[in-house]
């Protein structure tokens, strides 16, 4: 058993060296395939983060009337926070609203002057409500409408909800996000399938050139395991080397585009690469080795029928 394993390993390495050209060609093709997989992973991450950033910017703003009592406000906040769809309710008090307003218009003397003349704070408190998903805003808005319907007409609480003003753009955004995610899943699948097929075919061709040898091995009494073993090892080696080479190529690339992605997408690809290195490494090397192994096993078994 151990002797057989040792022989398979030795034979695998020797075969790897003696067919150096075929090995190199296979590794090259696998590297390209793994680079495709790696690039897809990174751009998928980029897309995901971008979409999340956009989604984060979406919220429902609810403005209270200036006379709203703190109790009523707290009660509404509590009810909103109890909803499953709601992930965050951010409260801005009247004073804070005023400070922010002043800050925003500090160069606009006319506005500031008008504010001074009013004397009283004209701004109401407000809530910024966030949902986990843009599709859920509809529900939240409906809920708020229901609350509003319950209000007594002579003592209203809610002054305005901006959802209905922004509904069109929120819906559009939801559509775009959905389409982008679908497109990225399809692209990912297509590229992955292409990478797998190309790798499989390359290894099949490499093994095709040794089909005579495989049948000779069978004819002199070698068992299938003994024949297959070295090819499996070689497949694993191709995958391992190709995975490492792909990582070595990706490193300078992400290092180079890191700052650009930071300023453009607010997401530093290089940092992601470094922080998630273990994950990226294991996906690339792992899928390379699995691909190499499976391809070899499938390709060899065709020629074991003698």
């Amino acid at each position: 058993m151990w002797t057989g394993f040792k022989r398979i390993v030795r034979s695998g390495f020797v075969g790897f060296w003696r067919n150096a050209f075929v090995s190199l060609a296979s590794i090259f093709v696998m590297t390209v395939a793994l680079l495709v997989i790696g690039a897809t992973m990174l751009s998928d991450q980029l897309l995901g983060v971008t979409l999340k950033n956009i989604q984060d910017k979406v919220d429902i703003n609810l403005y209270f009337v200036t006379t709203a009592s703190q109790e009523d406000i707290d009660a509404l906040v509590a009810r909103l926070e109890a909803m499953d769809e709601v992930t965050e309710v951010r409260y801005t008090s009247r004073d804070e609203a005023l400070t922010q307003f002043r800050e925003r218009h500090k160069n606009d003397e006319l506005t500031i002057q008008a504010l001074e003349e009013l004397g009283d704070n004209p701004l109401g408190a407000s809530l910024a409500i966030k949902a986990a998903d843009t599709t859920q805003y509809e529900n939240i808005a409906t809920f708020i409408e229901e609350q509003r319907a319950l209000e007594e007409p002579q003592a209203p609480l809610i002054d305005e909800v901006n959802y209905f003003k922004n509904k069109g753009s929120i819906d559009k955004l939801t559509g775009i996000i959905g389409a982008a995610q679908k497109a990225s899943v399809i692209t990912l699948a297509v590229l992955m399938i292409a990478a797998v097929l190309i790798t499989f075919n390359t290894i099949r061709l490499a093994i095709y050139t040794t089909r005579e040898e495989i049948s000779v091995m069978r004819l002199v009494g070698a068992s299938n395991t003994f024949i297959r073993g070295p090819f499996m090892l070689q497949g694993l080696m191709y995958g391992l080397i190709a995975g490492v080479v792909a990582i070595l190529i990706l490193y300078p690339v992400v290092l180079w585009i890191g700052p650009a992605s930071e300023s453009f997408f607010q997401f530093n690809l290089f940092e992601y690469f470094v922080n998630d290195f273990v994950h990226i490494f294991s996906v690339l090397v792992g899928s390379g080795m699995a691909l190499g192994l499976i391809s070899s096993v499938l390709a060899v078994s065709r020629y074991l029928r003698v």
């Binding site: 075969g15 040898e213 000779v216 091995m217 004819l219 002199v220 009494g221 070698a222 068992s223 299938n224």
Partner: protein
């Protein structure tokens, strides 16, 4: 030990007849030579013995085992009982002479020290010690043939099947190979050999099967080369 029962083999969907209704037996420790014109079906007969080809009709038995009923995964074990010299040598091109012979032993699960001892002996027997580390493409036809012979005998199999083992050899090498086969046979191994060499047949003075157009036309216990 070996029994061909009404075996026929047709190629190309019956268009070409390689073997037609062949029945014969080989007893243990026999030394059988098969002669016949080119295309008579000699190689085909031997290929059916190692299950490289299956008969169109009829059965081939090894002891009481129908060879062509052996499941594919069990074939290697059966083939290890047989040492085969192929007409086209069938050496592994990416392995040296030494490794080619060692491969047959490794496939047999022999221990490393046995391999280190027996492979050089087998190479010495066919006069190829100095070519141990040459690859097949660096060897002459006769040298390749001798590696193939060494590979066939190294495991001391129950049967040796040799398809024209002297086809590429000069008279002296031919004589030596025949002596080797004879000696192995004396030690109890069954030998089945095909040849076109009249001198070899006459020198051996053993059983000769003569084939013509896929049929056995003569089977003589102390045969002469008659064509």
């Amino acid at each position: 030990m070996i029994y061909f029962d009404k075996v026929s083999k047709y190629y190309n969907a019956g268009q070409s007849i390689a073997i037609e209704d062949v029945t014969f037996q080989v007893a243990p420790k026999e030394f059988v030579s098969i002669v016949g014109h080119s295309g008579a079906g000699k190689s085909t007969l031997l290929k059916m013995l190692i299950a490289e080809e299956r008969p169109t009709t009829g059965q081939v038995f090894f002891e009481s085992l129908d060879i062509h009923q052996i499941p594919r995964v069990k074939l290697p074990k059966y083939r290890r009982k047989i040492g085969t010299v192929f007409q086209d040598f069938k050496l592994l091109p990416h392995k040296t002479a030494f490794e080619n012979i060692a491969f047959a032993m490794e496939a047999n699960g022999r221990a490393d020290d046995e391999i280190m001892e027996n492979v050089p002996q087998a190479l010495a027997l066919v006069d190829l010690e100095d070519k141990s580390w040459n690859f097949p493409h660096e060897l002459s036809g006769g040298e390749k043939q001798r590696v193939a012979i060494a590979r066939a005998i190294v495991n001391q199999p129950d049967i040796i099947i040799a398809d024209e083992p002297t086809g590429n050899l000069d008279p002296i090498a031919t004589y030596e190979v025949v002596q080797i086969l004879r000696k192995i046979n004396d030690l109890g191994t069954t030998v089945i050999m095909t040849t076109h060499n009249k001198g070899v047949i006459d020198e051996l003075g053993r059983r000769v099967i003569t084939m013509d157009e896929g049929r056995i036309v003569r089977d003589d216990q102390e045969g002469k080369y008659v064509l």
